[in-house]
Symmetry: C2
Subunit: 322 residues, 2 copies
Amino acid sequence: MALTEVALGIDIGGTNTKIGFVDRNGVSLADSSVPTGEDDVDSFLNRLYKAVDRTMLPIRDRVKLVGVGIGAPNGNYYKGTVEYPPNLPWRDVSPVVQWVEGHYKVPTKLTNDANAAALGEMKFGVAKGMKNFLVVTLGTGLGSGFVVNGKLAYGHDGFAGELGHVTVNPQGRMCGCGRKGCLETYVSATGIRRTVYKLLADHAEDSEMRRISFDDLDASNITEAALRGDKIAIEAFEYTGRILGMKLADIMALLSPEAIILFGGLTKAKEILFEPVYRHMENQMMPIFKGKVKLMASGLVGTNTAVLGAAALIWHELEMQF
Amino acid sequence: MALTEVALGIDIGGTNTKIGFVDRNGVSLADSSVPTGEDDVDSFLNRLYKAVDRTMLPIRDRVKLVGVGIGAPNGNYYKGTVEYPPNLPWRDVSPVVQWVEGHYKVPTKLTNDANAAALGEMKFGVAKGMKNFLVVTLGTGLGSGFVVNGKLAYGHDGFAGELGHVTVNPQGRMCGCGRKGCLETYVSATGIRRTVYKLLADHAEDSEMRRISFDDLDASNITEAALRGDKIAIEAFEYTGRILGMKLADIMALLSPEAIILFGGLTKAKEILFEPVYRHMENQMMPIFKGKVKLMASGLVGTNTAVLGAAALIWHELEMQF
């Protein structure tokens, strides 16, 4: 029997790292996860290699590993490094590609998770055939991956795609990057939590969220409250949609993409999020761009979404060589 | 004697249209200009063709025309059309490439003037060898051309690059595009004039500009006043630099270019403009990007700058085919 060629996709998150063996069509043949952990990068890699071996065991006789793709916070595509990751207890700069490529002896590539998601959408998701689009990941923070003329925009230094750190208000909310008023302090799972608290402070109206502590509040219970008609929760999505819509209208002016794909935890709110984002985006848009862009939900469904994106990175590289 | 291959570069402006025959190295062998005129596009083209013939006359025995590149306001690269040009008395949509290509029987391409300037910088100017940069044109309005991974970003519809229409303040100055608070209402030759008038209204300080009417005020006399130490004029450049710097810091987060090249009338102020732009840009920038980008003046000097850009467009196309 001919062996099926597979790429190993690795998505390194702040808490867990997900792995999967993904074929050329985006089908994951085996996947699992391993704690990213509170220890150093060397201990993490040992754990990772063992988990990969265990995961591969049931399929090892019928697959051939052709490459490894890695999505990681602050991943630098050009250097193959993870640099100053804000939520990982690693050294300042870790040459992850060098180490992993040395271990598996197959081509290995790394980029940040939002760029991996963009490649995943292009190869396996809703952006098939598109040449100009962006993916916006709405998780703890806000990430983005831009595809321009059919290629990911890595920028000169490999760190392009930081839509989360365009400025909404230079005197605005404190951001983890050290500045104030960055987009992700408003538009993200943590951003909408801050918005709810601001609205609870500014308004006298009752809300079920007045019974939830800041630490217990998250995108899920804000979404649920909005679905139950809680006015503060609905207003929080309206506020989030206004700010994101305004910035997406700016992106439209700059790059005129065919589609903007929203991805990540906050998108579980579906129309409660999408409707105000689209309305404000179109409202703020320069006339020549109105009605042209599609606002879409991710086409990468299931538990291994980020792994598909990471695998897409190396499939994309391998196919570009021919 | 072997014929020298030349491209015809045409820059269609609101008042004048400049033409030039440019060789592969960016040397213009003959150039001239013709009024764009107040009449329709057909009359304009007749005038243009005659001017081109006259200009070519002295060199016609030693050159071979291989292509035509056109820079035009609201030029659509994909369709070869000029659409709804705000400052031209033409029909809504003019298929300029179809007409010009039919006349000269050589490959013809068209894009907006800022995109043409970006290609000009890449082929003949300060961006030689760069893969990720942008050109910002500071004239009556603010235009931009983005190069990503070595290629111009035209976007899905051919209209990408409208940096002049990102929003500074949704309740801000009226813009010609029908919205409020667009970047070009602050940062352009007309924008700085509005800023001077706002400062003259807000402050009691004397200024030589209190003796100039709004209609007589322009980038030149504001620059001259600043050079003479006029505090209102200096403050106007500071304000302009703060707003442009803030938006360029955003661009850095999105696309992480190697260089940002400023071009056009307002750049004649040199350091009076560049210093505050750079200072505010670096100040507003996300830490990982600080100190990485070059802020440069255009490398396309002389009277035929825009023509060089237009010629670069077709040279670029012709060379990409091999």
